[in-house]
Each structure stands twice: as C-alpha cells, then as structure tokens.
Symmetry: C2
Subunit: 416 residues, 2 copies
C-alpha cells in the first residue's frame, strides 16, 4: 500500500502528495506584495476618467479664474462711492454700461459710476467691488445704493480657485467627479491614468455547465465565473471570460498564456489527480505559494507565468470568493493603482454567539447582523455559496486566535 | 426707478423678480420624494448584472446541490464499516470503483466496500459517509481505514445550499458578485433588473468653452459637465452629454424635451435676465421648486416636463455639486432602484474650528480631516470648486442650527 493522495500524473519534476506544509497567510501576502506595483499609464479622456487613478502629477498652466470676476448679480462700483449708504442714506450712482459672462465692459468705471454686472462676468476697470442687486434700486440709467461694500467685496480674484503653476492633483489620486470639473477648468481634456488590469478567467471542471445553465443530472452550472466577473469589475479590472476550459493540459496551458496581466484559475487548483494547474504552473513558470493555512480556501495558490500573475482559486465557491478577496482582488486593485485595502465598509459589533477557530489558521466567517450583533452562520461549508448571500458580511479570525467568545467586539466587513 | 432684479424677458405668465420666498430643504425633498419610484425592469444578462437592482423576486426551480455529493477527496463508505477504526485498529475495505465530478459510480457500495471519490462527485448508492484521504492508507484495490466517520459525514445533502422552490433573492436587492454565482447555480442566466435612468445633461452659458478646453480671455471651460457625468455614473444613471447649449430659448426647450428620464440643467437656473430655464419649465411643464433655503445652491430648482424630472443646478460648480447631491443624485438612485441615501461613507469626529451657520438655512460645509478632527475650509465660496477637491468631505448644518462650536462632534460625509 502507498500513501494517498494519488500522485499527480506527469508530475515527475514537481512532487505533490498533499500539502506537506501550508504557507501562513502572512507569508503568502508578503510574497504577493513583492510582486505588485501599479501598471503603466495610458491617456484617458475626461468623460471616462472618474474612478481612475492618476499616473502623473497634474500641474495647472493657468489661473482659475483667469481674471477678476463678479460673484453676484449686481453692480460693479468703486467701493468708496458706497461708503455710508443705507436704506436711510441712499447714494445715487450713474449706470454707464453692463458686463455679462464673457462680455466685458470696455470702458472705465469712474467716480460716481456703476456697471450692471452678472455673476461670473469680468470686473470692469476702475471698479473694485460689487453691490448686490438686493442692496439697490435702479432704473436704466441710475441706481440708488442702499448699502455699502468694502473694496474687493463680491469679487473673485484671479487664481483664487486654482493658482497657475501649482500641483492640482498628485499621482496616485483616484479621481472623484469634482476632480474632473477642476481638470476641465484648467484646460485638461485627458490625463495619464494607470491602466486597468486585464484579467483572464480560466474556469475548469468537466462537471461544469456554462454559467446560468439549468443544472442537469450530476452536472452543475459554473457559479465562479459570474461571481469573479463581478468581483474583478468592482476592483477595477477588465475581465475576459471566454467560458469553461476542459480539463486538458494543453488547453489550460494555452489559456494561462493568454494576453493578460492576471489569470484567475477557478478549480483544478488542489493536489488531486485532476488538478493540472499547479503542476503546469510549476513546470512552465513559478508556483510560489500553494496551500495556505486558512479556512476556507486552504488549497489556494499563487505564482507567475512570464509577466502574468496567476491565482489558483479553489473550485468550491466560498473558497473561491475568499481566495479572490485575500489575494487576487488585492493584486487587481494595486496593479490598477488603487489601495490594497478591501473595498468593504467596516463596522464593529459584539458577537451574538461564540466564534470558534483554531490557532495557526485564519478563518473567514460569514455573519448576519441582527439587533446590532454579529451572528455567525450555522451552515458555512466552503461549498455553500448562499452562506455569502444570506450573510451581511464576514469576520476574519487571525491565526493566533482560537476564536472569540459571545459578546466579544469584532470587526465585520460588510458585503455590498 | 423700479425694483431690481431686472424682469425676465417674456415672462408675462411667470413673474420672477428674485426669490420672493425660498422653499425649505424639507419641503423640496418632500416634493421630490413624491415624484420618485423605481423605473420599470428590463432583462439583464448575468455578466453585466453586478450592482443592478432586481425588479423581481427570484425563486429557485431547483435544489443546489441536486444530489448528495462528497465534500472531500477520499472514499465513499458505509459509516458503520468504519466504527472503531483508528491508527491502532486499521479496518480494511475493498475498493470497488471510483466517482469523480459528474462521473457517478454506477454500482452499489456493499458492506466492506468503498469507492474512491473526489470532492463534488455524486455519492454512490449504499454509501452514507466519506472517509477523507488523510485517514486512509490505500493501494489500487484495498484501503485501511485509520479513523471512523458517522453517517452523513463529509456528504453534502441535496438542497443544502439552495432548496427548490424557495425565494433566493427579493425584488429590490442590489446584486453582489456572489449573488451572480448563486443565480448561475440555479440556472438563471438573466434577471429582470430596474432600468438605469437616462440622464440628459443640459449645460448652458455663452461664456463656456467645451470641457477640457484651455480657458481663453474671459471664457472659461465647462467644469460642471464632466463633474455631473462622473456623479451620474456613480449613482447608476446613463449619462448623455452632447455638449454646451447656447443660451437660446428654442435650443434649451428642445433639449429639455430630449428622450430622457432626468434632465440636469447646469447654469441659467436663477432669476437673472439670462436665466431662461425656469421660465421655460414653468410655461411648458411644472416648476415646482425654485429657490431653496440652503448654502450654496440657493437658486436650485426642480420640476417636471412631461415624464421627465428636471433639475435646475446653479452654474457655480460647488452649488452645482451640492444641488446635484441633495436632489438630482437622490432621484437617479431611487429611479434606478437604489437607496435614496448618499453613497458617501460617514465618520464622526470633533470640529477643529467653529462652524458658523444661520438659522433657517441648511449649510453644506467642506472640511479637511486632520489629526482626527474636522477642519472647515477657510475659502469656501460657491465658485471655488477646488474647495471640494482639497477637502475630504462635508458637514451638513441643519436649518435649525446656528452652527457648531469647536470640539463639537459632527457627522462628516467623506468624498471618495
């Protein structure tokens, strides 16, 4: 009698008989982080730049505004002419013209004169303040000031929004909607943004039917492809999922060599006789991590093939989600210039029931939030994907912990 | 002398001479919420369904799994045959076949027999438990059990992930990546999802240059178009921005009648002589709200034209952002089936400086978070868009408050 598991066929150069030793999560993440840097940048138009990450500092060549402008609808005046004006001391001025947005008054505002002015219009020469309409009675030619303004009042100064020559945004900034407005206002119509990672899905398993097929007999429908597609999109990657690949070494190897920054392999990642991918990766590239001390997704693995990062995600869908979130999602975010941190919102709340784990292993426990307390799900096997749709989020129990007693405050990452 | 402001041309049926009275924010939101319900649903494929909102309950026609399956790599056995087995009491069984994923063992497992089985493979008849490989020594024909298993151990039962006939997801759920996996596993390849609102941008202003143009003379580049495009995308709308519309009544009216669920008008929304839009809306549709007691964006307005919701957003970019966030974004989210709530993360922290407001007016104050305290920006005029890019978020000061003293705990909505 020999020892199980069955040797992997054709694995003469890579002997894999079960996970002789599992990597710690810390070691696995350390390896991964050493591989990660934002991709090169590409030109991206303003209209599609929201959420993208700048690959360059943005300097402004211009001041915004580029000229002194009125901040109110009213009258451009010499502030000194309004001194002492009130409802009981109306001071009369002569209206000598008007200024609208991009329609300057071409003359000078002299003593005792005013120019009708709209918000955003350039200030006429000679005037140094704007008297708002609310403080005025006027006809076509004259106005009576009923209030006083000090020099500079209601006048926007050149450069007060953006000064010329300054750095407006730094490399690495993820662009907000209002950032696009500022970029536009300084005359920037496209930016250099970190390229979005190209992510190839490689879903294997002869038992699988295409996503969304009605399960039939002993064949089940691919759950991981659609889930991974949604996760990659969330993390800013561009997903390419050509469908299920048969469990044949040459097909898998060809897919691993597809044009992509990241390959996500779902299924065939463990040490069984059908698990070709680790062997292929070790033979043709680098299988750096295989087997991690965590539950679920202990068969997860990572490596490289040429320039591609390859993630071995277990076929069990909860394991697949967990391994994606710990490893692949992090890589996709960092390659795309984003923060490595999970995009999940966090809350802190007490446990409604104890949460048992094992020292030496990281646990990913799904919880429901009920009455402000986190309740671990009873059914939580790695194959029960609905445990991640019925739950509100998850708690990570670290490797140095045996779990947490009822009432202990835990950090919950919320799915949404 | 007549009273300013200047009457609006052609406004014989709508008299607008400044905002005689401003609506409260509460009144404005009450009117808006009365207009809002999710749009009708449309069929959406799984591959693009992440983040979409279900317009139907989803029932499962099938059980997942549809058959009893092994949860481990190992041997399908009769649990009774393993009773008492241990490293010191190895019990021998005869291997009579194998089962893989979607490859059933066609025979029966009798007493003293075992079938080699892979994770996910259908359980053979006669067997009621799986003995994991780790508890076994085996050659091709025999195994020695070194542990015992109870009936049902390591066997996934039919329907334990999803029971047939149950409601898997309810109408109104925003689909998570893992939801797509569950939908796929129950044979659902497309869902009815709430339609994404079509949002027409209508940017006016003769002083405006197209977005991203270098500002020139007294002409400035459109900042609001790109910003609104990013905001609409964030809130799940589909934006249509054909560029700047000249300040001509017939062009504006045609644009207001474009095929859209929502029209966002940027600029020309106040009560000045160039502000055509409120007049047009009142004459051809309904101008329900015009002027809101808030700062910035007091000239904001809302109404309807046929089936379209029309939002009058002030041209000053901070006002535009603020009015979008209070009104238009809410509408786009609810029309698309999402929560009315802001998508911003919230934190609570003390004020680093006092924040002054006025009773009767809601204030939208930009703050920087520094050393765990919220610091209101010094320069915060409605025209200074960079106040929203230099800040980390904003504080809303309610209408019944004169502001908050230094050290007061405030709720900050974080831009990101």
């Amino acid at each position: 009698m020999t020892t199980e598991p069955v040797p992997v066929e054709g694995s003469s150069d890579v002997r894999m008989r079960g996970f002789a030793r599992r990597h710690t999560l810390t070691d696995a993440l350390n390896w991964l982080d050493d591989q990660l840097a934002p991709l090169a940048s590409q030109a991206v138009g303003l209209d599609v730049a929201v959420g993208r990450v700048l690959g360059q500092d943005i300097h402004s060549e211009v001041a915004v505004p580029g000229f002194a402008r009125s901040m109110m609808d009213g009258f451009a005046v010499r502030a000194a002419d309004t001194q002492g004006a009130s409802a009981y001391n109306r001071l009369e001025l002569t209206i000598v013209g008007r200024a609208g947005p991009a329609e300057a008054f071409s003359g000078q505002v002299g003593p005792g004169q005013a120019v009708r002015i709209a918000t955003g219009a350039p200030m006429p020469e000679g005037a140094d303040a704007v008297l708002p309409v609310e403080q005025v009675e006027a006809d076509q030619e004259h106005l009576a000031a009923q209030g006083e303004v000090s020099p500079g009042k209601h006048v926007g100064q050149p450069g007060e929004d953006v000064a010329a020559g300054t750095v407006v945004f730094e490399r690495g900034r993820r662009l907000r909607p209002q950032d696009l407005g500022v970029l536009s206002s300084i005359g920037v119509s496209q930016v250099q943004a970190v390229r979005q990672p190209q992510v190839r899905l490689l879903v294997t398993g002869n038992e699988l039917l295409p996503a969304g097929s009605m399960p039939s007999g002993y064949r089940i429908s691919d759950a991981n492809g659609p889930m991974l597609g949604g996760l990659v999109a969330r993390d800013g990657g561009l997903v390419h999922n050509p469908g299920i690949i048969a469990d044949k070494q040459e097909l898998i190897l060809a897919a691993l060599r597809d044009d992509a920054d990241v390959v996500l392999v779902s299924g065939g990642s463990s040490v069984g006789p059908e698990d070709h991918v680790p062997v292929l990766l070790a033979r043709h590239g680098e299988l750096a991590i295989h087997g991690v001390a965590m539950r679920p997704s202990s068969p997860a693995g990572m490596g490289r093939l040429d320039n591609r990062l390859v993630f071995l995600l277990p076929g069990n869908p909860v394991s697949c989600l967990c391994a994606y979130d710990f490893f692949a999602g992090r890589a996709i975010r960092v390659l795309g210039g984003r923060s490595a941190d999970w995009p999940y919102r966090m809350i802190y709340c007490p446990l409604a029931r104890k949460l048992v784990s094992v020292v030496g292993r990281v646990d990913y426990a799904r919880v429901v939030i009920r009455d402000g307390r986190a309740e671990p799900l009873a059914i939580s096997g790695a194959s029960i994907l609905s445990s991640t749709t019925r739950s509100d989020g998850f708690v990570v129990v670290s490797a140095d912990s045996e779990g947490h007693p009822v009432g202990a405050e835990v950090k919950v990452y919320l799915y949404d």
